[in-house]
Each structure stands twice: as structure tokens, then as C-alpha cells.
């Protein structure tokens, strides 16, 4: 029986920004179809449980925090971060069986990551490397986008920079074409587009790069920048140039919705908060254009699921990304079938 899941479960998914998770109120999130309650304990560790009380299935996120525990709003049952019930008012003693499923969680690079699959496989070393988010050599900010679409439509979108000219006709693109895979694209000795001209702050032609790194199942880092032509950037010396990272991770909430966490980081003018704000706001506008596209695709795919999308050369990157995702899902299915 083929799996119809569209996401692997054995993976780290971003659930929230670190700053969204506090010690005052529990936070509700959904990942891979699983409703979750997320909060922070006194040791600053993040706890994640299924968002339903063992007793009557009221979402625990409607309750309150007491010490390191979350307390159900209905009958006051309390659960610690391991999911064990620690208080059961009106009952003489706590039932051993009263526990809620706990999920492995790690906080790293400004994000809280949750592992919805087999906890035994949840290796924190596998959290995607998004170190730019809190590297002191980099500055920048980001936002979250709640989208009504299969998260893979954003993967397609990001793996393919050629759409830039068309979707973002009024924003970042200038006419260009190319074939992108999980790979590197250099434009040597070219006129920079207005945006990069301004960032660089120097006249003349540039060497420009766009390097896409896809980390399955749903993290993509774009390495973009320009350096004065002939100063050695293609050979590895970017010291004369300016460099940005568009850091993207798109968490499937359900088959048809996702949460898209992104930042726009840079390695220049690190203390210029005005620039940080300008870039974040400009990028947010661009991502709204993408949002309109992928949500419209989703509606069309739902209306006629039997009608296929087609691939062009420019889709080599997204095709490879989707294949990797499918392989991960198939491997999980096989694993459980043999277990």
C-alpha cells in the first residue's frame, strides 16, 4: 500500500521562533498533522506535548503554566515536559497510565525544532544548519508566513530562481534565465541589478552568485551576493563583496497548510537596524507575491488532483528535491512495514 503522506515524520521541523515560546503561556502549533502544545521550562528547555489532555482531550494550550508543568483548564490535571501527569485533582492518587505523548524538541538558531517521528531517532546533530540566524558575523531578521498550500510548492518555488523575473516583476528580479539544481550559479562581469548595486555601494560590473542549498525535507538556504568583477569571488575570495543568506524552512502543518519561517541575513553593515528593517519588509512583500502563486496552485491541484504538473529544465532542482522527499517517506514506510 503506497503511502500518501507528503512529508517524512523522522525529521526536525521548525515549530516556532524561540522568542514565541515563553514561560507564561503555552503555545499551540500543528506539525505533520499533529496538534502540539509548546512551552519553556525553568531550565530554558522547550517542552512539546500532544495538545490534548489525556483525560477529556481538551487542548492543553487552552490551559496555563505552573512551574514546569502545563495545567489543563478543564479539571486541572498537570503534565510535565515528559508528558507524565503530575497532578490529578479529585483523584486519590495519580494514575500511572495518565500521560500525554511527548515530542523531542531542540532550540537552535533562533528556532524551536520538533521531531514528530520515532523519538529514538531524534538526533540533535541533524537539526538543519541555519547558523547565520544567530552568528555574530551576520545580521538580519525575518518573519513567519502561514500558507494554505502543500509545503512542497514552496520548495518548488525556492529551488527555481528563474521565476523571479515573472512573479516578482516589480520587485527584485531583472531579466535572466538559467538552469538551477541544488547547485551554484555564477554571473561573471555583469551589471548588477539596482538592489545589489545599492548594497555593494561601489560602481562597476560585478561577479554575482546564487547558490541554492536544499536540506530535506524542507529547508533551503539561498546564498546570494555580488563582488566587484575580477576580485576573486568565483575563486573563493568574497572579501570585496557583499553577501546575503535567505534562510527558509517550511514546516508542513497538514497536507494542505504550512508555516514558512524565513530570515534575510547579511554579512555587511551589521549594526544598521534601518537596513535590517527595510530588507525584512521588502522581502515580506516579495514573499506575499509567492504566497498568492502557491496558494492558487494549491486550489487548482485540489480542484483537479488527477491533472498533472509538468517539468522543464528549470525544474530539475525541485524535481530532485521532491524525489529526495519521496525517498525519505518510502524508507519510513518500509521501516514500519518491517518492524
Amino acid at each position: 500500500m503506497p503511502s500518501t503522506r507528503t512529508f517524512p515524520l523522522n525529521a526536525w521541523y521548525a515549530a516556532a521562533w524561540g522568542h514565541e515560546v515563553g514561560r507564561r503561556e503555552p503555545l499551540a502549533r500543528t506539525i505533520c498533522g499533529e496538534p502540539l502544545v509548546v512551552w519553556r521550562r525553568a531550565d530554558q528547555k522547550v517542552a512539546v506535548l500532544e495538545d490534548a489532555c489525556w483525560h477529556r482531550r481538551l487542548p492543553l494550550s487552552m490551559g496555563r503554566l505552573e512551574g514546569d508543568d502545563v495545567v489543563c483548564r478543564y479539571h486541572g490535571l498537570a503534565f510535565d515536559g515528559s508528558g507524565q501527569c503530575t497532578r490529578m485533582p479529585s483523584q486519590e492518587k495519580i494514575l500511572r497510565t495518565a500521560c500525554v505523548r511527548a515530542f523531542p524538541a531542540v532550540e537552535r538558531h533562533r528556532l524551536v525544532w520538533v521531531w514528530p517521528g520515532d523519538p529514538a531517532l531524534a538526533d540533535p546533530a541533524k537539526v538543519p544548519d541555519l547558523h547565520w540566524n544567530d552568528d555574530p558575523e551576520w545580521a538580519g531578521d525575518g518573519e513567519t508566513l502561514a500558507a494554505k498550500c502543500d509545503y512542497r510548492l514552496f520548495i518548488d518555488n525556492l529551488m527555481d530562481l528563474t521565476h523571479e523575473t515573472f512573479v516578482h516583476a516589480t520587485s527584485i528580479g531583472n531579466p535572466q534565465e538559467g538552469r538551477l539544481v541544488t547547485s551554484t550559479r555564477w554571473m561573471h562581469d555583469v551589471e548588477p541589478p539596482p538592489f545589489w548595486r545599492a548594497q555593494l555601494g561601489k560602481p562597476g560590473k560585478v561577479d554575482r552568485w546564487q547558490i541554492i542549498r536544499f536540506e530535506p525535507p524542507c529547508t533551503i538556504v539561498l546564498d546570494v551576493g555580488v563582488a566587484p568583477a575580477g576580485t576573486g569571488a568565483p575563486q573563493g575570495d568574497r572579501s570585496q563583496g557583499v553577501n546575503g543568506r535567505v534562510v527558509n524552512t517550511i514546516t508542513p502543518e497538514t497536507a494542505g497548510t504550512c508555516l514558512y519561517f524565513w530570515t534575510l541575513m547579511r554579512n555587511y553593515r551589521l549594526r544598521d537596524q534601518t537596513l535590517t528593517t527595510q530588507l525584512r519588509e521588502a522581502n515580506a512583500r516579495i514573499f506575499l507575491e509567492d504566497l498568492a502563486v502557491v496558494e492558487a496552485q494549491q486550489r487548482m491541484l485540489e480542484a483537479h488532483p488527477e491533472r498533472a504538473m509538468h517539468g522543464l529544465n528549470i525544474d530539475a532542482g525541485s524535481a530532485r528535491a521532491r524525489r529526495v522527499i519521496e525517498e525519505l517517506i518510502a524508507a519510513e514506510t518500509a521501516l514500519r512495514a518491517s518492524a
Copy 2:
């Protein structure tokens, strides 16, 4: 084949307050999945039909009343309270077969009750006893709550007074615990909570009671009150105390929605309309807190219907109530299978 119905059909269900049913306009209600049109005839009796014209199935509740009949807005067919067509414009004579299903209806204790099951079994003596609603020895008022949940979640909620401390942390409760069934709970010689202190208007400790009476499938009367400690209330003499009845009946509209009719009645300060209004408004606020809880439960149960709720000692009352409901449904199913 097991029945998946969540309510028996052979039962009296509250459809509306008496004051909602008039002689000017038909009223639309849904009970047990059945759309109904409700109106009042000249003899003050209430008529209830399926809310769909025999002819083209336009809801009769969109039409108007003429004499004792409801007239369809589309082609003017008229139906009397028995469901028989009494007028058929444009047709030479009325077709005998043109009739709409009629439902037994009784008005009692300020409510209009409808029997969605077998009319032969509709015994008015079986209407739940909610006499406090119009007993001159009692005063009070109530409201209707339209809820997006299985009506049984409200039964659970009412059968269990321990939730009071947690759901209503800011309103009526004070810390307490206990084991409640369809039964009586006495607190002897205790400090009354502020609400009851004020109602009693006397200093000192009290004997306090909470008695829950569940009448299947969906009526619950809470008998609550306090009397000065040692004045004989537990032994039956409540004459020194104050007594309230929270009268609740929750009608399933569909599997996932219900109409909750309640009053808050009291046997003291009968002519104090200000108190009546205050109590009604305070209670309405409390019920909105319950509403948030049960609707959240409903969403969670719909999202993962395969995941079970669990019972504690405090759920003995609601477990028994649900078992009685299931037995009623099973008996109906067996009855029809043998018919």
C-alpha cells in the same frame, strides 16, 4: 450494523422557548438532524412539521402563516398542523398524498417540546419535569446557547461539578474536590463561598448542597443551596436556607451542534427583578466559559476521532449518563430491526 447515532429519537427535546413561537411568523429549528418548522395555532397549540414543502422542498419556515396553516412562499401550498395540504393553488383539487411529516409537540414549563421519533410512543407524561421554570414559588430567567459540539459534551460538563474550580477560576468556584455521580453532595458546616454568603444574607458557617439529577437523554437539573449550619437542611428542613435550581436541557441539532436551553431559578427574593437579571447575566458569562471548553473538545475529537477520552472517578456521573444514552439508542435500533 451498529448505530452511529449519538441521540435517541424516541424522546422529548426542547425545540424553543414558548415565547419564541408565535402566530405571526413560522420558526425554523433543527432537532436530531431533522429540519422543522414551528408555529402556534389559534387554540394556542404548537404545530411542528418537517421544514420542507411537499412540492419543491422549499423550507416552509420561509413562508407565512394564514389562520392555522403555514403557506409555502414558492407556490402557495398551505399545510395544517397535521401536515395535510389544505390549499393547492393552480391545481383543480388537492392531492390526497400531498402531506408533510408532522411531529408531536407539547408546550410545558416555558418550553416547546418535540418528539422526533415514533409518534405512537410520544407520551406527554414523559416530558422532563422542569416545573421550577413556571412554578410561582420560584423566580428566575435563562437563555439559549447555540453550540458547535456534540450535546453529550455538555452532559459530561454538567455531571461533573469538580471542573468548576478550573474552568470558572474567576467566577463561581472555590477550591474543592469531590466525587460526583447522579447523586447528592453535601458539605457540612463549611464557610460558604462569597456568592452563597451574599444570597443567604446571614453570617456563619453553612450546610451546602449540590444535587445533580440527570434525566436522559439531555436534561440535567442542579439543586444547589446553603442553609445556616445545623438548621436541619441535610435532614430535609431547608426553610432557613436559600435554594437554586440550574435547569438545563441540551437539544442535539445534529451530531456536531446543539441548542442549550437553561434557566437559573431560585426560591427567595422572588420579586427582585434586579437579582433575576444579575443572576442570568452572571450565569451566561459562566456558560460562555463552558462553551469555549466543549467546542474546543469537539474540534479535537473531530481532528482525531480515533483517539479516546479517558475516565477518572469524577467522571462516574457522566459515564453513567452516556451509558444510559447508548442503551436508549441500542434499544431503538433493536426495536426497528425486529419491526
Copy 3:
């Protein structure tokens, strides 16, 4: 296997008013479940394609027009009116297989007509005759109504003029009855209703007619008017009278939604724009009353699809219309089964 389709595909359906289709922006419409993009080429011909790019299925209606082609907003693929891809940025050459399904389209009588079925059968001679819409001997205007109902409920509604008295109690009707088929109804030597009295502008009794012409699957023209009694109208000489045509065509978008295009044309006071506006606005109000009726029927039919509507004599016309529609659908199904 019986077809559950409620509309034939081999038919001309109105997709839009001609004035809605321009050379600046593509227009999105849905006909018979098929999402369509509609635009006008330089030769004024209307082009209609499936509203989904061959490549990633983004709706082409989100794109822009360039010359005679529609250009996808995502990657800039362009398609001509035949559905052939004419531009494929980032690709060395255009793939021959890259094409989008095209639909035959004809513009006639102020409307754009689309044929969702077999293009080989799309004969422009079969477009319904609604010549009153642009005949210089007639004047008038109309509107579009988007309705949440099976289009056949409007057919029922229009085939049956007796409902007029009841649905439009406050608008056009006066008490009357009759038996209507796809046929003619004359009222000889009668008092005209106030509306027709005013239109005629002459005192005295009239001969009045209502002639319904149903052209399957979804076009109905009402020929209505009055002439001074005894001036020969029933015999064919309407020259002393006033004559109107209510021109209706109701396009199924999906099984449960439709687009209703109507005009109210007249053969008198042709240059009186005030009258044109008054009549259009009055008729729009009447059609809103019908809309409430048919949408309520739809809700009731969806709630209990197993419960049947019934027919009276007055439904002979609509029954015949529905039978013709069913025969058309059955013939199509048989045709494909044998193909």
C-alpha cells in the same frame, strides 16, 4: 453506470458578457466544472483555455496578456488562443507537447458562448437565439446573478409562472393561476396589472400573453406583453400593444453553483434610458427574491438528497425541461460508451 452529471457538455453556455472580455486582462470563469481563462485577441475573437498553465498549473487568469497570448505569471510561459505554448523562457526550445486545452468560443447577442464538450460538434449555428439583446428594434439591459444552486432550480422557477403570485407578492404579480408548459398562455379581455397598465399607457381592458420558450439545456425566453383588448394580438397583430422579452440563460459552474445572465428587453420607448434603468433595477430586485428561494431549495436538497421533490400540473413545463436535459446527458454518455 448511470451518469450523475447534471448538465450536458455538448452545448453552448454563456461564459460572460462581451463587455467583460477585454484585451487588457484575462478573465476567470468556471463552466461545467471546468476552470477557464477568457480573453480577447486583436482580431476581436475571444479565446478560451483551461485556466491552468501546462507547466505548474498556476491559473493563467493570474497572468497578463501580451499581444494575442496569455502569459503565465509564474515562469512566463505564453500560450496562444489555440492553447499552443508560444514562449518558454529558460528553455532552449519550446516543447511541442506543451499545450493547454482550448475551448470553442463564439460571441453573439452581447454574450460570449463556450462549448465545454467535443469541439468537433461545436456548431455556431446552435448558439441560442437571443437576438433581442442586440436587435435595434429592441432596447433594454440586464445583469448577472451568481447563485449557489443547481442551475435546474432556476429552470424550474422560470418554466412556472404561477409562482409569481407567491414569490413576488410585493412586486410584479397579481392573483392568477394557470397551467404552463413550453407553451403559450393568453389572458383575454382582462384588467392589466398596474405594471402593464403603465407600460401600455392606454386605459381599458387588454389581451395579455406569457409565452415561454425553453431552449435546452439552460436558456429560457419569456415573451410577455399586453395589447388593448380586441385589437388582434391573439391573432398575431401586436402592433397596438407593448411587448417585452425576459431573456435568461443560466450557466452551470459546478453541480451546486451557476451564473445567471439575464436581460429585460422591450420594443417600445426604445430611447428612454430612464425606463431601461428602472426596469433593470426592478427586475434585479425580483430576481433576488427568486435567488433566496432557489438557494434555500439547494440547501434543503443537499441536506436530504434522498428526499424527493414532487410534481403538480404547474410543473409540467419544468418536468419536460428536465427530461430533455436528462436525455441530452444520457445521449452523451451513450456516445462515449460506444466510442
